[in-house]
């Protein structure tokens, strides 16, 4: 087990290096001169050259990459061109907000999805199964920004239960989390249902029944642990997607998160901030996948991704 985890962690190193190279290249592959941008449209060529020199933009690419990566490792993500402040100061608080939003939404997705999926599978073709699957299809098909708007209309404006916008205090997180987590819950519910149905018809479930095991124990102990593997995979991917894709929800609820920062920075061509955001999202995504891989091993000892 420990060996498995260590090997999985070591395998992250090349992945992260690759990610950093891609992120670094972004700046050089996109059109537009950052020095020109910083100096302004009408700046004289001398000033631009001076800025290029001070940013090291005339150095060979490997040197620039080395400067970049050694900075990143020390927590220096560069300087924002817009605000002329360290990027880390700019990105960090917003990353925390988006991370919270993503974590709460994923928890909601997993909890609701598992519960609905299990009920559906255990009572296949019953009224509750059909209802759950229709609701899930609805949840899956609704764009989350639209759902967000509807939630604001009903629960914030009409009923006044929750604040319509912002990210302060426990009340304010309810609507954004529901709006972001619903699609994930729907996907996980459908995944759990089909996975459970598959497992319930296996021979070892019959063996458990022949031993006199209670139905509830069969479902939650014998069946669920086997059915969880595809569910965990989906939940991991879901989390990554939320992190990168929360921008619409953040806009609807006026939450000052990383999604909004990223979009604003792209529009403003604030490359260091864009780089930092993408790097953070990529690293978190990779780490979530590591957690998923490790949890496979807990669920089924037979799985060995190192082979």
């Amino acid at each position: 087990m420990t060996v498995y985890i260590i090997r999985r962690v070591l395998q992250l190193i090349p992945v992260l290096l690759g990610v950093s190279i891609l992120v670094f290249s972004l700046m050089h592959l996109t059109p537009g001169n950052p020095a020109q941008l910083m100096a302004g449209e009408s700046a004289p060529p001398d000033t631009i050259e001076q800025i290029e020199e001070s940013l090291g933009l005339n150095d060979p690419l490997p040197v620039q990459y080395w400067d970049y990566i050694s900075g990143v490792v020390q927590g220096d993500l560069g300087t924002s061109m817009r605000y002329n402040t360290p990027v880390a100061d700019e990105v960090w608080p917003k990353f925390v907000v988006t991370l919270e939003l993503s974590i709460y939404s994923t928890i909601l997705s997993i909890f609701m999805g598992l519960l609905a999926g299990i009920i559906s599978a255990v009572r296949q073709y019953s009224i509750s199964d059909i209802t759950i699957m229709i609701v899930a299809l609805f949840g899956l098909s609704m764009p989350n920004f639209w759902l967000g708007l509807m939630l604001i209309q009903w629960f914030a404006v009409n009923l006044g239960w929750f604040p319509p916008t912002g990210w302060e205090g426990p009340g304010s997180i309810v609507l954004p989390v529901i709006s972001l987590g619903t699609a994930g819950a729907a996907i996980i519910a459908r995944m759990t249902r089909s996975s459970m149905l598959d497992v319930i018809s296996q021979d070892y479930i019959r063996t458990a029944r022949a031993k006199g095991v209670k139905r509830r124990v069969i479902i939650y102990k014998h069946a669920l642990k086997n059915a969880l593997i595809p569910v965990v995979t989906v939940a991991g991917l879901q989390f990554g997607a939320l992190l990168a894709g929360a921008v619409l929800t953040e806009s609807v609820f006026a939450i000052n998160g990383m999604g909004r920062l990223l979009v604003d920075s792209i529009i403003q061509r604030d490359f260091p901030v864009v780089q930092a955001c993408i790097l953070i999202i990529a690293v978190v995504f990779v780490l979530v996948n590591l957690v998923v891989d490790i949890s496979y091993k807990f669920l089924n000892k037979r799985i060995d991704l190192n082979d």
């Binding site: 070892y204 019959r206 063996t207 022949a210 031993k211 006199g212 095991v213 000892k301 037979r302």
Partner: protein, 343 residues
């Protein structure tokens, strides 16, 4: 019956309801299991033998349903039991082992965890006592270094070892009846013999009764004391194993024996039963075997015979052995000498 019986199955009916049609998988099956003995249930695929076995423990899944009959275990009709009462029987007084050892163990729990489960449910054994008992059981079924196996997962064991684990699990609570549904079909021939030998030893040791479901007459000859031959959801012949092999009465039983290769006779070729098992929706009205039977008369095609006593402990479902028989009164259903054709 001259001896004590542990299980009496009377007129058991299990049907599957598919798209409004009733498929009678088990259609009025009757047999007894004498205490401490082995009853073999033999038949082709689809004869209803496995469904009969699953019905005993009420492990039939929807759309299947037990629609009638009695399953008397030590005098109590199990079909009257509710789910809770039934759970106390399963894995405790009646255990079951299955055909596929590769898929019958839960892949995500250790051998020990799975062995302890029945011990906890029926005997209230905790983790430590359960583990001790599990080691004991693994030793009993002939698994080498049992203590280290307890923490292993099923995928670390071979098919034969897994079937031994299944048997250990089934024996955990000293059952009085073991239902073995084709326990050796999926195993290599050498392993088959070992498993059958093991079951016999354990039976002698614990005075356990066994129902051995199989399609293999070789397994029957080796392990069973009594045999029920099933065809299309019905028992067509019941006899003790010696009588069945020496003097089979039902033409279907004879057909099964004739299609078996024998080393003690010089045969040119095997004689298969002609035709195929009828599909469930086109069951013949008369004797189910009539369309394939070389002796069938008009009576056989028109009326279904009953399972009649033809000897002390022998029953057969065939018109030939009744007063109503309208064919050749001298008909010889089984002629062992006919098989020694070649010089």
């Amino acid at each position: 019956m001259s001896q004590e019986t542990i299980l009496e199955v009377n007129d058991l009916r299990t049907s599957f309801f598919v798209e409004g049609n009733e498929v009678k998988a088990v259609d009025g099956v009757t047999f007894d299991v004498p205490k401490g003995k082995t009853l073999g249930i033999v038949g082709e695929s689809g004869s209803g033998k496995s469904i009969s076995a699953l019905s005993i423990l009420q492990l039939i899944d929807s759309p299947g349903e037990i629609v009638g009959g009695e399953i008397n275990f030590k005098g109590d009709n199990l079909l009257k039991y509710n789910d809770n009462q039934m759970r106390k029987i399963r894995g405790n007084q009646i255990s079951m082992i299955f055909q596929e050892p590769m898929t019958s163990l839960n892949p995500v729990y250790t051998v020990g965890q799975q062995l302890r489960e029945a011990l906890k449910i029926h005997r209230g054994l905790g983790k430590e006592a359960g583990t001790e008992k599990a080691v004991e059981l693994l030793e009993l079924v002939g698994i080498p270094s049992p203590r280290s196996r307890v923490t292993q997962y099923p995928f670390e064991l071979s098919g034969g070892m897994r079937q031994r684990v299944m048997i250990a699990m089934a024996l955990a609570c000293d059952p009085e009846l073991l239902v073995a549904d084709e326990p050796t079909t999926a195993l290599d021939v050498t392993i088959q013999a070992q498993i059958l030998e093991l079951l016999k030893e354990l039976q002698d040791e614990f005075n356990m009764s066994i129902i051995m479901i199989t399609h293999d007459l070789g397994v029957v000859a080796e392990t069973c004391d009594y045999v029920a031959v099933m065809y299309c959801g019905k028992v067509v012949e019941y006899a003790d194993v010696h009588t069945l092999f020496k003097n089979p009465r039902h033409p279907y039983t004879v057909g099964l024996l004739n299609s078996l290769p024998r080393s003690d006779m010089d045969q040119e070729e095997l004689e298969p039963i002609r035709g195929t098992v009828p599909a469930p929706h086109e069951m013949p009205v008369g004797c189910r075997f009539a369309p394939r039977c070389p002796f069938a008369t008009d009576l056989c095609h028109e009326k279904l015979p009953e399972l009649e006593d033809v000897g002390d402990e022998e029953q057969v479902r065939c018109w030939i052995y009744t007063d109503e028989w309208d064919g050749d009164p001298e008909v010889k259903v089984y002629e062992p000498e006919a098989r020694t054709a070649k010089d």
